[in-house]
Amino acid sequence: MTVHSVAKTASAVVTIEFADHPPLAFDLAKRAFLWSELVEEFPRSVTVLRARIEDPLDALTMARLPWRDAEPLLWSIGLAAFPTGSAGWLHNGHRYRLTRWPNLAILPHTSNQMRMVALLANAAMTSEELARVAKVDEVEAKTLITALSLIGLLAEQPVEATSAPVVRERDESRGLFRRLRDRLGI
């Protein structure tokens, strides 16, 4: 929740201090972060001591710092942070649609996650609708929506303002995507 709140803050550099890990700095405008550890080592559960907005740094100092793309970190946090899948800032009764694709080439992902991203790229859906259309557990659908939302890749609207997706029934096991992934051993 702290990371989401920080990510929604106006353009600034924000530092988050943890109880048992080095501090992490976000450059919100550039969607980049500084941290002395690997993204894969970000813990599933942390105690946040405080988050503070830093005084602006000059451009030269900013450019010299080893900023990293925040997308993999936010993706990792979004997939792991909520056991029930759904983050507190998401709304039941809202449909979500992708505003841009995540850079899946740098994000560890499953076939189901890729299929759900493709669905949200083409239609607005609630987590229930996404789970039904993608034929996955609703927690899995909520978890993906949480991760995409944390990165800032989703638009949302109340269900009354959007149309429910209309699905053509088809045997996905016969689709090229499924068979190609099987063929490539993914």
Binding site: W101, A105, S163, P165, V166, R168, L180
Partner: protein, 183 residues
């Protein structure tokens, strides 16, 4: 046997030949010739007709991978192959003179294929030049082509994992769109 044609397009030096070689299960048939435009891209040879590779899926399907030449004087090849294509992989080298403009130009040239089926963009050589970022490409595409949502990934054409992600994302997007009645 069903055939699925995937085109690999982009400017000279973006890595189209390498991408087809990385994904193909058979030795790639290439039509490389001496590069007469070394002032544009400094490499000894370039594709003058096409590169061809394939992936066979069981006894029923074959994915045919065609890399088309990057120079505009060969654009008649683009038209011929685009008519048969299921999707387009557009590769752009980030250290090109104006890579964003190049992306928009190729999207225009393959407009029918992009609208009818699908396209995915792979940005190569980001290790050589980090700007423009993926976000810059996405912003430019959104401004020039409202309503066209294109996956844009950073890729290394030599790397099987990222090229597989590129190809399967393209197929996923085409199939998921086909499974929905788009309002």
């Amino acid at each position: 046997m069903a055939e699925h044609v995937i085109l690999f397009a982009g400017p000279m030096g973006a890595g189209k030949t390498t991408a087809v070689q990385t994904l193909s299960e058979v030795p790639v048939v290439s039509t490389e010739a001496a590069n007469s435009e070394r002032d544009v891209v400094d490499k000894p040879t370039t594709t003058v007709a096409l590169d061809y590779g394939e992936i066979t899926i069981g006894a029923e399907d074959k994915v045919r991978l065609y890399g088309v030449p990057g120079q505009e004087r060969f654009d008649f090849m683009w038209t011929i192959l685009a008519e048969r294509a299921k999707g387009l992989v557009l590769l752009i080298n980030n250290d090109d003179v104006d890579p964003v403009r190049s992306v928009l130009g190729f999207l225009d040239r393959f407009d029918d294929l992009c609208s009818r089926s699908g396209v995915v963009i792979g940005i190569s050589r980001t290790d050589v030049r980090s700007e423009p970022t993926v976000g810059t490409y996405l912003d430019a595409i959104a401004a020039a082509r409202p309503g066209l949502m294109v996956p844009v990934f950073t890729v290394d054409p030599r790397d099987l994992a990222t090229m597989t992600t590129l190809l399967t994302s393209l197929i996923a997007n085409i199939e998921m769109r086909a499974s929905l009645e788009i309002a």
